[in-house]
Amino acid sequence: MIHSLFLVSTAGHIFLEKHWKSVISRSVCDYLFEAQGKASAPENVPPVIATPHHYLISVYRDRIFFVAVIQTEVPPLFVIEFLHRVAETFQDYFGECSEASIKDNVVIVYELLEEMLDNGFPLATEANILKEMIKPPTILRSVVNTITGGSSNVGGTLPTGQLSNIPWRRTGVKYTNNEAYFDVVEEIDAILDKSGTVVFAEIQGVIDACVKLSGMPDLTLSFVNPRLLDDVSFHPCVRFKRWEAERVLSFIPPDGNFRLMSYHVNAQNLVAIPVYVKQNVSFFETGSSGRLDITVGPKQTMGKTIEDVVITVHMPKVVLNANLTTNQGTSTYDPVTKVLVWDIGKLNQQKVPNLKGSLSLQSGAPRPDENPTLNIDLRIQQLAISGLKVNRLNMFGEKYKPFKGVKYVTKAGKFQVRT
């Protein structure tokens, strides 16, 4: 299946290659560079490129292209999903998935790749198993290794989890404090039009868990209002039959952090849009200038404060600079990338944040006839905007009493206001 993997930086520098079958010359990446040259941005490089002898399937993440070389028919999503899994594993191991961190940990990267694929077919992709075999780098261990000259990141125990039919959980887990935390994170995806009417809005959420429980706990998580959930996808640990029958999540959790489920809230329920935006962006026919005026205010917030509000505007190319004043937060305009960022912070009921000022355009250039879209970022703590509520969490199979915590957060997902 997957023949080779190349990691390529945006600058076109191949900084890591790994071959599972035979060595494929790195010149195959030229086809990627060619496509990259044609594309206006790295995101626009097609994920699948056919070359005379191979197919390149790539994903672009964290400014790195993960390029898999394959030779025969294979479902493209299979490869894409795997490459993302690789990137996530790196992220998990090194804290960030960047060229520098990968270069610093080349040995571990190789060990990981060797375990993740066998002859091109995925073997161990569960973080729990991998961590049992290959220990993530820590400062302590690297210090010890430097002093003693020991080189092993490889775990001392055999990956017994691989043998079981709950491969996501490692065996012999022990904690002094047994804790289980669940974050219910909801994102509002919305498109508002010029006048502020909702063109499209939906809520999707995820439940991320951090479970640190000893032994083999069997958890059951139930909701007050499971009917809200329209479409769900689960971590493999969740027993689907019980969800079908009783609408509860029953599972033996992996150890550590994982995404328990992601869901989509029933589209019939009207989505509460927590903010309103009034905007006016206009460019004048004469004088190479324009005016910008944006006001943001809280709307349906269910009594919570809206925090971390950031508005990002991608300006047309002809906008040279912006001379703006605001009564709250800071605004910056980057003339190179043409991005205006207005970092507002908390939204108060009393004072309505406003940003206005003039835009200077390239002289002589025609007035841009398109208006930029506003992208809004925000966060509301202690609120799941759909109203989803966890009812209770029960544990079976172990005797101790764990500490259980649930947190709700609402964020803006792809929240756009057209102008």
């Binding site: 999503l77 080349v106 055999l158 689907f240 006839d369």
Partner: protein
């Protein structure tokens, strides 16, 4: 090199974990004196000469700066140094070099050497050794790893060994080992496709496996080796369907794709009736005449089908039912696989369920979106209704990458119908204002397609597009012109004002395609704009020489048409243009000019054709059909690479058409789990054959075996494990018990004992076969076993106990030396419950006790076997021997020669191994051979009776070589006896364990000088 270099770390861990089985992962993957296969792929100098690019690009990079001054010589020096930290640094740099595609092959020897000395306990392994490990190690993970390493050696010489190892592993007790066997199959197949038939046998066997762990891997192997052998699936079809939900996610994808193909060959089309109606309708729509004949046939067939009401095969239903929950998987590939299965197999009414899941995938990474949208685009052509409720999910955001935008646009266009067109058009209006011009162009195309497909909105669209003609962006205008041209072709009469408007644009628009389109329009409909057309031609004639080729051709075209309709006004202009074209640089244009002149300008020579010139040029042209590029893509299996590329990728398996009538469904019936029966029968057969080799006396072997197995299951069941068969060590026992799936437990419980015994005896047989390659070679080794006294009959108050080292591998745990203990009851009363109590052992030593002897009647003799792990030391094992009344302290002290077991190797291997064990590890002593010690066979016999070694075949008459490995750690023990003139001789022992070497030399000296 790559594999090689990451292994030191691995190898170290295996030392820790596996107590001496570390070579399972150790790095040297080369066969005898061969370079690894992957070396040849990189020409030696390539990296330095051909690819300096990488270095030049980043001259300032710190890593390069570090690397540059360090030539390979320096790295070699570092590797040769005594400091571990330097070596480590060197290794890391080499890995980094390889990561960047540099050639490090000249460092290979240095690294190998290093690996050999770094891990004192690692001896460079050989393929056959891996095979031994893969068969005999008590820990399933190590067996599996050994097989994995073995199968990764890409050298044809070892094909037979690999084949044997795979076959063994395929019937291993541990599902994990069987999984590894399945993984090894494609590797072997790619190495040597001639093995296909044998491999298919293995696949067939593994397909019958009932564990989820194996299912995915074996289907993968099936797809790579023999995807055409669909008959192998029949018996396993239902099992695969039922296991599916518990298989790991990557396996699910492979299985679902395979089952889709299978189902297409075995079941009837659930939509046979509907699809026929649908197709019929479509065909008339597209008006293809040739297919009518076919259609009749199909209809006839359909009538047959219609008469018989369709009933879905229960197996078909089973597949649909069992795959549906997987739509909820977090893995996009699994969801897509199920979606395509439903699209290709489900009745129309049920396909809808996949829409929601696919829409969910659209929130994933952009690459996932890209692939999913491609598939959705294909689906929306066939089944538009399915995605209509999710129309808004395909709305485009300004932050989407262009390729995603274009695909969403495609889907929106496919979804457009009379009811939603107004919403869609409103949405399109916002898109046209986007900054992304490629996207705007695609939107204009999309509007054009909506206009052609939905008659009601044609005028609205056209008006909108005309407005775009005054857009400031030339690309937008050009695209609009092209689309308007296509639309106007449908009803030109009504739109002469649009044509006029466009004629004016020729002054401004510079995009060649747009200019060409306008000229074509004016020429085609010159009768609607009789006044303007000649004037346009006049302007064009002026600028003719500066136009692009495509525009020049259209100018000629326009000239010709005008000449035919309005020759009075345009005759001279046409002549002028034709003259210009005659001397054009492009021969296409010269050619066209000549052709047109002959056709339209009447001369005496002009043939019959010129009469029809008008008909030729001004024939009514059919309006173009604006079609989705995704039409007809569904003949590729959705979700496949071929579908995405719209071209057949290598190894693509066609999705078969539904059969006319269903094949016999009874082939899928499974009555009895056949495989356990027959495989155990095979084993039994082998056992019989092997018996003479490993048993001195027929009568003895029977009880020994059963005694072994009893003792083992005893300890195994203590820890609640049901695979105690393979490990009596408590550690691995508990590992395995957790590894077992619930379903297996039930299944195994009853058959366990019986199967297990057969398995053990089989293993023993195999082991012995490996150790002694032929009976001839083996015969001298079987000298009389030396018996030691454990308990004298006087101290034992009538109970005499002797022991000897049976030199047979201890069946429960190969790390143990098996000690055969013989009890003789010299008293008048029976001794009861003879057992071991309170062993006092040195740290690390272990004892596998023999099963308690319930009753030993007076005068009787009983023999049992116990296993002792001496940890490769000659320290004694102390324990108490109890009867129902007494306790006796006893001691077993092994001679050093019993701490090893023979291994078979060739002379070359021996020399190579010996070369690795020089210096401190080599002990040489000279001696004078004893009186009776003449001739090879005596020497051989004496050495072999001293130490449990096997002889290595040897070319020289003066030399005798012996090889073995220590039982616990598996360190090699190599003995060479060289005889010289007179009775002088020299004994050399090479062993990593110096202590053992020294002691062994002493013992052999003594034996030989007697």
């Amino acid at each position: 090199m790559q594999r090689l270099l990451q292994l030191p770390a691995n190898a170290v861990s295996m030392v820790k974990t596996a107590q001496g089985q570390e070579e399972a992962r150790s790095p040297v993957l080369t066969p005898d004196n061969g370079q690894p296969a992957w070396y040849n792929a990189v020409p030696p100098e390539e990296s330095r000469h051909i690819r300096p690019g990488g270095e030049q690009e980043e001259p300032g990079s710190s890593e390069d700066a570090q690397m540059q001054p360090l030539r390979h010589d320096d790295l070699k020096e570092m590797l040769d140094s005594n400091k571990d930290s330097l070596k480590l640094e060197a290794m890391k740099r080499i890995v980094a070099m390889i990561a960047r595609g540099k050639n490090a092959s000249d460092l290979f020897p240095a690294v190998v050497k290093n690996v050999a000395c770094k891990n004192i306990e690692v001896s460079p392994p050989r393929p056959s050794r891996y095979r031994d490990i893969s068969q005999t190690d008590p820990n399933q993970l190590i067996r599996a790893s050994a097989l994995r390493v073995l199968s990764s050696i890409r050298v044809t010489i070892i094909v037979p060994i690999m084949m044997l190892a795979i076959k063994e592993a395929a019937s291993d007790m541990s599902p994990y080992v069987r999984k590894t066997a399945a993984h090894a199959i494609p590797k072997l197949y790619s190495l040597d496709p001639d093995q296909k038939d044998q491999l298919i046998e293995v696949i067939e066997k593994l397909l019958a496996d009932k564990t989820t762990l194996v299912a995915g891997s074996v289907v993968m192997a099936f797809e790579e080796v023999c995807p055409e052998r669909i008959d192998l699936i029949h018996k396993n079809y239902r099992k695969l369907c039922n296991l599916l939900i518990d298989v790991e996610e990557w396996g699910q994808v492979v299985i679902i794709n395979m089952l889709t193909r299978y189902a297409r060959t075995q079941f009837l089309n659930p939509n046979a009736n509907e699809s026929l109606l649908e197709e019929g309708g479509e065909k008339t729509f597209y008006g293809s005449d040739e297919e009518e004949g076919k259609e009749d046939k199909v209809e006839a067939a359909a009538l047959v089908v219609k008469r018989k009401p369709y009933v879905m095969d229960p197996d078909h239903r089973l597949l649909l039912r069992n795959t549906k929950p997987l739509l909820q998987s977090r893995n996009a590939a699994v969801v897509m696989a199920v979606a395509q299965l439903y699209f290709h197999l489900a009745p129309k009414a049920e396909v809808g369920v996949i829409a929601k899941a696919l829409v969910r995938l659209m929130r994933s990474h952009s690459e996932v979106q890209y692939v999913v949208l491609q598939n959705v685009a294909t689906m929306t052509i066939k089944r538009r209704g399915m995605f209509e409720p999710y129309l808004k999910s395909f709305y485009i955001r300004s932050t989407d990458p262009t390729q995603i935008k274009v695909l969403k646009l495609e889907v929106l266009t496919n979804l457009a119908n009379e009811t939603n067109i107004s919403t869609i058009l409103r949405e399109f209006q916002t898109y046209i204002k986007s900054m992304d011009k490629d996207f705007v162009a695609a939107t204009i195309q999309a509007i054009g397609r909506c206009a052609t497909n939905i008659g009601e909105v044609r005028d609205t669209c056209l008006n909108g597009l005309v407005q775009l003609l005054s857009n400031r962006d030339e690309l937008v205008v050009a695209e609009s012109v092209v689309v308007i041209k296509k639309l106007l072709q449908m009803q030109p009469e009504k739109h002469s004002d649009i044509i006029k408007h466009m004629a004016k644009l020729t002054d401004n628009i510079q995009v060649p395609m747009a200019r060409a389109s306008i000229l074509w329009l004016i020429g085609e409909y010159c009768e609607h704009v009789p006044k303007i057309a000649p004037d346009v031609l006049r302007k064009m004639a002026k600028s003719f020489t500066n136009e692009e080729d495509i525009v020049k051709l259209q100018i000629l075209n326009l000239a010709a048409k005008l000449y035919l309709t309005n020759s009075k006004q345009t005759k001279l202009l046409t002549q002028y243009v034709l003259n210009l074209a005659k001397y054009d640089q492009n021969y296409d244009i010269r050619d066209r000019a000549r052709f047109i002149r002959q056709l339209i300008v009447p001369t005496d020579k002009s043939g019959a054709l010129s009469k029809y010139a008008k008909k030729l040029f001004l024939a009514l042209k059919p309006a173009p059909v604006l079609e989705s590029p995704f039409k007809d893509r569904d003949h590729f299996q959705l979700g496949s690479l071929s579908h995405l590329l719209n071209a057949k990728a290598g190894g693509y398996q066609e999705l078969p058409d539904w059969p006319e009538s269903a094949p016999d469904p009874s082939v899928r019936n499974v009555e009895v789990p056949e495989w356990t029966k027959c495989s155990s029968r095979e084993k039994r057969k082998e056992k019989k054959v092997e018996k003479p080799f490993y048993s001195d006396s027929e009568g003895e072997s029977g009880p020994t075996e059963s005694a072994d197995s009893d003792s083992d299951t005893g300890s195994g069941s203590g820890s609640g494990s049901d695979s105690g068969s393979e490990d009596s060590g408590s550690e691995s026992g508990s590992e395995e018990s957790e590894g077992e799936s619930d379903s297996e437990k039930d299944e195994k419980d009853k058959r366990k004992m019986k199967k297990w015994r057969i398995y053990v005896s089989f293993c023993v047989a195999l082991l012995l076969k490996c150790s002694f390659p032929s009976p001839q070679a083996a015969s001298p080794t079987c000298g009389p076993l030396k018996t030691y006294e454990l308990l004298h009959r006087i101290t034992g108050e009538g109970l005499a106990v002797t022991y000897c080292f049976s030199r047979r591998p201890f069946t429960g745990d190969p790390h143990m030396v098996s000690v055969q203990i013989q009890f003789t009851n010299n008293t008048e009363v029976e001794a009861r419950s003879l057992r071991v109590l309170e062993p006092k052992l040195q740290s690390g030593m272990r004892i596998a006790e023999f099963p308690e002897i319930d009753v030993l009647p007076p005068g009787e003799i009983s023999t049992v076997v116990m296993g002792i792990d001496f940890c490769d030391s000659t320290q004694a094992a102390n324990f108490q021997l109890c009867t129902h009344t007494k306790k006796f302290f006893v001691t077993i002290q092994p001679p050093v020669g019993e701490l090893m077991m023979p291994i078979f190797m060739t002379e070359n291997e021996f020399k190579k191994e010996q070369g690795q064990l020089m210096g401190m590890n080599e002990i040489t002593e000279k001696l004078t051979l004893g009186e009776g010690c003449r001739g090879d066979h005596v020497i051989i016999q004496r050495v072999i009776s001293t130490a449990n070694l096997s002889r290595v075949p040897c070319g020289s008459a003066m030399e005798c070589r012996f090889a073995g490995k220590t039982v616990t750690s598996g360190s090699l023990v190599l003995v060479t006896v060289v005889t010289k003139e007179e009775r002088a001789a020299q004994v050399t022992v090479n062993c990593e364990k110096m202590l053992i070497g020294t002691m062994l030399v002493k013992d052999i000296l003594q034996a030989l000088s007697q």
